[in-house]
Amino acid sequence: MTLETDQLIRTLAADNAHRARPVGFALALALLAAAPVSLVMFFAALGVRPDAMTAMHNPFFDLKFLVTLALAISAIAVSLHLSRPEAVLRGWAWLLVIPVGLLAVGIACEMMLPQRLPMMTRLVGSNSRVCMTAIPLLSLPLLAAALIGLRHGAPARPALAGALAGMLSAGLAATLYAAHCTDDSPLFVATWYTIATAMVAAIGALAGSRMLRF
């Protein structure tokens, strides 16, 4: 049997009344569904650090959330932009520089203040291994959700869109992890959070190159 293109066109026109939700809606729904999974993982395995109330008065503790949320929000914005097939990264990539800029400002401020510990000690910290394990693991449910949500779009570069899904889920996971971690130095964040984020972005790119093709 064959199907004439005219017949297909008529069939598609008959389905014109069907309205799909915007990609942003699908992404939000998927992330909201996955968030409880990551939250349960976080509270079961890590939990908020006991001195959180005092830590909140430390601007470097607060900066961690600023950086990770900035990463999550800009990656969400860029990934939604890239879910349109004709979209290019140019003109949008600067959004991803915001978290890097915030970190750079944090590092500069820390350098100017007197510190108890030497620079290398602050950078190495005491939780680097937990950080590099916890962020990717907490990311996984969110990454799966982000990929499912973004499948609703039509990215011309599926691997790139997948990498952004990785970055946004790492940003959200790192926001949770930051509440547990006692290393507040921006040097620690710039090193270990970045490595963890890069790992998740690589997984996202690999998964995206398969899952996000349309």
Binding site: M1, T5, Q7, I9, T11, A13, A14, D15, N16, F214
Partner: protein, 181 residues
């Protein structure tokens, strides 16, 4: 060819606002351009150009199922060509050729009407056979027997809403199956 694309944009805006006839006209209008681009892509990669109809149908399905990613404030042409380019590259890659397809190849394409030597498209039709019975029956009724949604509902003793759901799911699973080839 900016006038051509301006007309597409206005037709697509009408389509999004619920004008099925405008949508039908739009798809009819873009098809010869897609066909010409598919033939050119096939020719350039040393493939028989009579395979173009499968690619055209593949593109049309993607256009239909991804049309919510088109921004109604943006021109329709660049969006359409981006979808078409993606599908064309995929189709050529599946045939074992890695080729560079330029977006401008579409914008400057001279429309090509179906010509006698074009092989009938059979990939979509073949996948149609593998759909669940209800989806297949509804799709066949509308596509092959040219029945309206209303007539199809009467024929299968379904509600019109159920026919619409089966129609959309059928098109979506067709596309998913084509992608997984």
């Amino acid at each position: 060819m900016p006038e051509r694309e301006d007309e597409w944009t206005s037709l697509m805006r009408l389509a999004v606002s619920g004008d099925d006839a405008a949508y039908h006209r739009l798809l009819k209008a873009v098809t010869p351009v897609l066909r010409a681009a598919a033939r050119r892509g096939l020719a350039r990669s040393g493939q028989p150009v009579d395979q173009s109809e499968d690619i055209v149908q593949d593109i049309l399905l993607a256009v239909h199922l991804k049309r919510h990613t088109w921004d109604a404030d943006a021109p329709f042409g660049p969006w359409l060509f981006a979808i078409a380019r993606n599908k064309l590259i995929d189709a050529l890659r599946r045939r074992g050729r890695r080729v560079f397809v330029n977006i401008d190849d579409f914008a400057e394409t001279i429309p090509s009407e179906p010509v006698a030597e074009i092989a009938p498209a059979n990939e979509v039709a073949a996948q149609l056979q593998s759909l669940p019975a209800r989806q297949r029956e509804v799709l066949q009724s509308i596509a092959v027997d040219s029945a309206s949604i209303k007539d199809t509902a009467t024929k299968f003793a379904m509600s019109e809403g159920a026919v619409r759901v089966a129609l959309h799911r059928g098109l979506a699973s067709l596309t998913a199956r084509l992608r997984e080839r």
